[in-house]
């Protein structure tokens, strides 16, 4: 009954152009996601993806795994910045394990990495249906 099931890992690429588009769609125009100089001035290694961008990718993976399910909760910590280079892009890998719970709810324990490093802390979704 309580066996975990491994879900098919998804890989998404983030580019600087994506961040500009996301800024427009989300209203988050924080320059640390677009301007190298501002990012470095606050001690970041370079332009970083919005944490919410990476979280949106995690949500997208969950939606692809469970197209008919309804989300009950979704959460994570933003533990490492995802640095997005000016040229090309950076890959984010989303792995998931399904853990059936009680009351018809299912917990999806995620692992979100970039370049082998975890970028989200304890990302988790709970779904029903």
């Amino acid at each position: 009954m309580s066996t975990a099931r491994t879900l098919e890992t998804r890989v998404f690429t983030i580019t600087r152009a994506d961040l500009v588009r996301y800024a427009g769609a989300s209203g988050d125009h924080n320059p640390i996601h677009q301007d190298e100089e501002v990012a470095r001035s606050v001690g970041l290694p370079g332009v970083i993806a919005h944490g919410m961008y990476t979280m949106a990718l995690a949500a997208r993976a969950v939606a692809e795994w469970y197209p008919d399910a309804e989300l009950v909760s979704l959460g994570c910590k933003f533990t490492s910045p995802v640095v997005v280079p000016a040229e090309g892009g950076v890959d984010v890998e989303i792995a998931g394990e399904e853990k059936p719970g009680e009351d018809g709810l299912t917990t999806v324990v995620l692992s979100v990495t970039s370049g082998g490093q975890k970028v989200l802390g304890m990302p988790k979704a709970v779904i029903s249906g």
Binding site: F12, T13, D18, R21, Y22, G24, A25, S26, G27, D28, H29, N30, P31, I32, V38, S41, V42, G43, L44, H50, G51, M52, Y53, M55, A56, L57, A59, R60, V62, A63, E70, L71, V72, S73, L74, G75, C76, K77, F78, G121, A125
Partner: protein
């Protein structure tokens, strides 16, 4: 300048009503590489409302957005967001700590529809990087 500790427990005025349209949902889905063919908005879409509430809070407290780094985000959903919803977000400052010259601000935003029904509650941890580092 550190954040005023007396803010803990304070709620800010609700954001102006935001109409969820297919166009806005599609733009959001496509910006994160997805597609949208109707129905529920992507799970993180309510951040649009929460972000506006956070911006109003930062402006009121004269905090620069570029000094803010996102520490944590959680969503608890009552129901999915769908086009046609008219939503507002009300932000409350839940916690405030100072660590190594940074303010760690915990906020909760309740996102409600035009009937006052709770759609989603979302909590954020914001790290405000001090200027003198």
């Amino acid at each position: 300048m550190p954040i005023d500790p007396s803010l803990v427990g304070r709620s800010f005025p609700p954001t102006r009503p935001y109409e969820v349209t297919e166009e806005r949902v599609r733009a959001f889905a496509e910006a994160t590489g997805g597609s949208y063919d109707g129905g529920a908005a992507p799970a993180t879409f309510p951040i649009v409302l929460a972000f506006e509430a956070m911006n109003a809070f930062l402006e009121a407290e004269q905090v620069d957005l570029f000094r803010i780094v996102h520490g944590e985000q959680r969503f608890a959903y009552e129901r999915p967001v769908v086009p046609g919803d008219v939503l507002t977000a009300t932000l409350t400052v839940a916690t405030l700590r100072q660590i190594a010259g940074n303010d760690i601000i915990g906020t909760t935003s309740e996102i409600t529809d035009s009937h006052g029904g709770l759609v989603c509650a979302t909590t954020a941890t914001l790290v405000h990087r001090g200027a003198q580092q």
